[in-house]
Amino acid sequence: MSKALRKIGAYTCEGFYALYSIAKGLIVTLINLLRGKVTLMYPEARWELPEGYRGFPALPVDPETGQDVCIGCGACARICPTQLIAVEAHMTEDKKRVVDSFVMNAGLCMFCGLCADVCPVGAIIMSDNYELSAFSRDDLIYDRRKLNELGGLRKPEPKPEEPVASGSAEERA
């Protein structure tokens, strides 16, 4: 008899506990209902980009010279994991390098930022542009002019002096 009573008691307790947990869940959802919404009304409202955001790489134009500061060394083309950068340069007679073309294919870019990191003169920056959709694949090929437009006017920041390999030049010599 007492066993049966205890069983009924346990059963009832379980029922009340179930009601309690349902109420707890309902309160959680009610709080969510009243909370601010996370949806961004995209074309009208835009995301505030954090500092250091990595959009598509670009070649900003130095306002003083009206040109980007690329020296055509090709370091970016070598380090790019998907090999989307093609740099062509030639030497003039007085041993100066002239950049003939600088082409990036946005369809392959994975926004890793290695090109910007490796550039010895700080010619490449990671721009804020993330709206890169186009109607044809050809539109995704960015030549130097388009990359300049993307980069806008910006004074190139001098790179901090940082040795590429450890050890000083004298030591290696």
């Binding site: 309902l26 959802t29 969510n32 909370r35």
Partner: protein, 348 residues
């Protein structure tokens, strides 16, 4: 001016014999209710999407029309212009009849829904509650027909689950509807509302919820199951059964199923408001300047909101859990509640 008087006047003006007034009034009432049902369903769907969006900290539909209010109208137009496919191996006539069998009872229930005082009900049947219980159990025939005629395993499984669920939960639903009938001493919905008028201590409304909290909880649980909302939506469990009994349906026929489901949700909430929350009675006589229809719709809306709220909170139960909850928990509680109500009636 009531509907009858308006139609009488128009008929006199058009020299139509007065014999036709009564049928015309009935037809007009039927059409009005049909449009009301369509309107209610459109905005219940909108409300459900909006509330579920808010609970998931999304915004929900807000693009078509002001605040997205025209979204469901656009959806309905899209649905009706879709191709109406009957699968080659389906049993054609039952396949066509099933959505009608499901929709007609859902629409018929509105005959007894008391929207307001006096004339605001199509027909105040003296057996209103019994009528609701009877008519609400017809759609299951259509659901089984749909599942069987579709010749699709998902449809059939969904239909079987639906049959098991609806038949099981009909019992606690009706048992939960009995105590208000006992307290009012009548099956007529208007009589039940009248029995809830007045206040305790001149402040608290004498609604049946005061003694029927348990009954109301049982009613809500059964209502969730009857209107196929999430903790008990195993009959169309989209992650298991594609869409349940209406997997093969498209276009107009699917729209009828959809319409019946949401019309049923409104009905069950309206009946809940009538039986436990005094229908169109105001909270306090001082607030009786607000029309009874508004009171009725407001109370119904609150219950619908609670149903949607629960729907977007709880996960789906397992089939066996559903059955054991219905038979082992809800029905004994509902029976005990009837005994308690008998005690209350005896004392008062």
């Amino acid at each position: 001016m009531t509907l009858t008087e308006v139609i009488e006047l128009v008929f006199r003006w058009l020299h139509i014999p007065q014999v036709w007034v009564q049928p015309a009034v009935m037809l007009a009432a039927a059409v009005i209710i049909l449009f009301f049902v369509l309107f209610v369903v459109l905005y219940l769907v909108y409300g459900l999407r909006r509330i579920m969006g808010w609970i998931q900290t999304r915004i929900g539909p807000n693009r078509v029309g002001p605040h997205g209010l025209a979204q469901t109208i656009a959806d309905a137009v899209k649905l009706l212009t879709k191709e109406d496919i009957i699968p080659a191996m389906a049993d054609k006539w039952p396949f066509i009849a099933a959505p009608i069998i499901v929709f007609v009872p859902a629409y018929l229930v509105y005959v007894v829904i008391p929207f307001g005082k006096g004339g605001w009900v199509a027909q105040d049947l003296s057996i209103g509650v019994l009528y609701i219980a009877a008519v609400l159990s017809i759609p299951i025939v259509g659901i089984i027909t749909a599942g069987w005629a579709s010749n699709n395993k998902w449809s059939l499984l969904g239909a079987f689950r639906a049959a098991a669920q609806i038949v099981s939960y009909e019992v606690p639903l009706v048992l939960a509807m009995i105590p208000p009938v006992m307290l009012a001493g009548s099956l007529s919905l208007q009589q039940i509302i009248h029995a809830q008028s007045g206040e305790w201590l001149g402040l608290f409304p004498r609604w049946f919820i005061a003694t029927q909290v348990v009954g109301f909880l049982v009613y809500m649980a059964a209502a969730l199951a009857e209107s196929n909302l999430t903790p008990f939506d195993i009959m169309e469990a989209e992650s298991e059964l594609v869409a349940g009994y209406n997997t093969e349906y498209s276009g107009m026929k699917f729209a009828l199923f959809f319409l019946a489901e949401f019309a049923g949700m409104f009905t069950i909430s309206a009946v809940g408001a009538t039986l436990f929350f005094g229908g169109w009675l105001p909270i306090h006589p001082a607030l009786s300047f607000i029309p009874p229809v508004i009171w009725f719709l407001a109370k119904t809306a609150v219950i619908i909101f609670v149903l949607m709220w629960i729907r977007s909170t709880l996960p789906r139960v397992r089939v066996d859990q559903l059955m054991s909850l219905g038979w082992k928990v809800l029905i004994p509680i509902a029976l005990l509640n009837i005994a308690w109500t008998g005690f209350v009636v005896l004392v008062s």
